[in-house]
Symmetry: C2
Subunit: 433 residues, 2 copies
């Protein structure tokens, strides 16, 4: 841990007024955002490559700072999963550097002009893609988010203010050194990516109130963090709430595909937001498909909680109650319900789902189209595993989160979601009649 960082933390925590400290970050970010918006692609890419190089050359210092956070975490008796998320090692630092390089290789979304069309008045009208401005990232204990999020913001021409969990403060400040050094190396303002150097919770409230300096807040973390941010923020928020995802096996499903997809959607990984949490099965095929599928789930150690009709077919299931239909287990547990038909499946998803990702398994084209059209989720799938819901799988190159909101960006959010479009109008001395 460098003495510069120690000085920086004391500077921040000595502030009797956290608000004025955060306001200072905001003003600096606003100024830096203008420079970033005008920066050529090669300068942004050079900064990202330089950040990667600094992460690797600063590795010892970063791991030392992380060790300090880990020791404090042990003293504070943090839960094991939190400690796991907090921990950096050689491989994680290398992954952060590789992430920067990957973002450098992505096409620059800024400046793209689309839809230029001649209008009867003589003007030409189109849209130009531009940065959003200043993005506030509020996250929990993973120190790698500092670099991942800053890299995406930077490539999209935005300034970032990063506020990670207090338990990761020293790790975040150590990686922030690499960010600053990389920006400076590319002659971009170091204030384009600032880490909030205080563990004070009041800093979050100050960020959420700063709608003059911050254009959008992206919270990353558990449901309670995101709900707090959405409730308090005066700045627009790109929300990623929970993923209560469904697979519906239709009466016209190919049962072989159904078993493969429904197994993958639950069992591939439990802890990701695209994991299926409730399986819906059409009554007409439940007796055919549930026994085999249940055997595979049980063999993997997955607990099934079924409705009465499911338990009649597979008596080893536990009984599901109303709470199970709403649960985001993120664990080796699956709720199972037999439904009359697609109509009832769609109604169930509307009533209990979280509008994240839902899939139908069917060979019937009309029903596939109707499901696609009517299910109001950020990703709707046909004959594919809900675990595909991911920016890399969708070809975005990277993602800053998955939005369950409807405005602006929906589903996996990549570089494009961190930009806006303005109208451009080209005339030739044109006046309106």
């Amino acid at each position: 841990m460098s003495s510069a960082n120690t000085a920086e933390i004391s500077k921040a925590t000595e502030q009797t007024d956290i608000k004025s400290y955060v306001a200072e970050l905001g003003r600096a970010a606003r100024t830096a955002a203008d420079a970033l918006a005008a920066a050529p692609t090669r300068a942004k890419n050079a900064a990202l490559e330089a950040v990667a190089a600094h992460l690797l050359s600063d590795r010892a210092k970063i791991l030392e700072a992380n060790a300090r956070d880990l020791r404090a975490g042990e003293r504070a008796k943090l839960a094991a999963p939190l400690m796991e998320r907090l921990q950096l090692d050689d491989a994680r630092v290398e992954a952060m550097a590789e992430g920067c390089r990957q973002v450098a290789r992505l096409p620059d979304p800024v400046g793209e002009i689309s839809g230029m069309a001649q209008r009867p008045s003589g003007i030409r009208v189109g849209k130009m893609r531009v940065p959003l401005g200043v993005i506030g990232i509020i996250y929990e204990s993973r120190p790698n988010v500092t670099i991942d999020a800053a890299a995406l913001c930077l490539k999209a021409g935005n300034a970032a203010i990063l506020r990670g969990g207090s338990e990761a403060l020293h790790s975040n400040l150590a990686t922030a050194d690499a960010l600053r050094a990389g920006l400076r190396a590319a002659k971009l303002p170091a204030e384009a990516a600032q880490v909030v150097a205080t563990a004070e919770r009041a800093a979050v409230g100050a960020l959420l109130a700063m709608d003059d300096c911050i254009d959008v807040i992206v919270p990353r973390g558990g449901k309670s963090l995101i709900e707090r941010v959405a409730r308090e923020s005066r700045v627009p928020v790109l929300r990623h709430l929970e993923g209560v995802c469904h697979v519906y096996i239709d009466a016209a499903a190919d049962l072989g595909k159904a078993v493969e997809v429904a197994f993958n959607a639950k069992a591939r990984r439990y802890g990701i937001c695209g994991a299926m949490e409730t399986l819906l099965v059409a009554k007409a095929v439940a007796r055919e498909v549930l026994p085999e599928l249940s055997r595979r789930y049980f063999a993997k150690g997955i607990e099934l909680r079924g409705c009465d009709a499911s338990r009649e077919i597979v008596p080893q299931m536990k009984t599901a109650n109303e709470d199970d239909w709403r649960a985001e287990y993120l664990d080796a547990i699956l709720a199972v319900r037999v439904v009359e038909d697609m109509e009832q499946a769609i109604a169930h998803i509307a009533a209990y789902g979280s509008r994240h990702t839902d899939a139908i398994i069917t060979e019937n084209l009309s029903r596939a189209n109707e499901f696609l059209r009517r299910v109001d989720s950020s990703s709707v799938m046909v004959n594919a595993s809900t675990q595909f819901a991911d920016g890399f799988e969708y070809g975005l190159g990277a993602e800053i989160g998955i939005s369950t909101d409807k405005l602006h960006a929906r589903g996996p959010v990549g570089l494009e979601g961190l930009t806006s479009q303005k109208y451009i109008v080209i005339g030739d001395g044109s006046v309106r009649a």
Copy 2:
């Protein structure tokens, strides 16, 4: 005024709890939104045509209700411009009906699929355009907004809750009858377009808090209304704040074009948000262009308020102070400032503008491109009058407002801005590795 409406108003105003009345509207809208989202284009168009027909056949009843509002307005001594906006006549009712028919003729944005691409994993990924859901419109005294806004929401597959100014309540309820009748004629739920039947101000607060039933709020009206809505709302807001628009006459301008555009940008209409409020002129051409331009402004009765350098060239100008750079006059007044160069013009626009619409007049290609890229406004123009900032002029067919926000929709908002895009994924039993 029909007795049904009187009954409706008393029902609402008798409510000791306005919140529960508004909550009821919200729940009904949510249910209606599902039906609207699934409605075929021909049903939505049939409803719009039927609304138009009902507006014309109900014309006498609508004008009677409007007369009642006007009498109350006289008693309350409403200001003349407000009375003018409140007043309906044959021509205005016909324009409302024609507006519905025009929206019926626009292409349906819902269901459009774009960008379907094959991914290495075997899935195909693209986006489908879908309605936003329930849209709350909060507006002031113009009763025609009720129909204009409802028609756009309906065509984009959304349910609308409309809350107009209390001084227009009877007019709004009379037009709401036509909306309901048109929806019913097309077998769509009448709750797809509901007018809030109470003059109580608490209804606005209740709408703004209802983030479970309303997906987006569109305020239409003066700055204080929009600021209140933005401040209080728990629901995302599409904001249209003020238009402090600039024309910058560059040193490389064609001065003939400069005079035409700068005159049109101010003088064509004063009261619209795209009207120029401050003229910036490069020092190098100020002596050449300002005298002629000033003569034209003065001949039209426009007051000029200039900086010292402008007044040196045109001494008849009044003196501009700091407030003039920030003013949205919406009147026959123009602030004028001589600047060193484009750099200073861009800095002025960033410091004092409202990010609505700004134009450069130049024949220099590099500077035109730089202005387009660097000015952070919803519309940026080259050699064209700022008065072009309008959904019809841009080819959107219609507009519900002009967004000065950066997220979701920016600039004139038409049907597309009232929709969202979800990801669709098509596999063939595809599982994630």
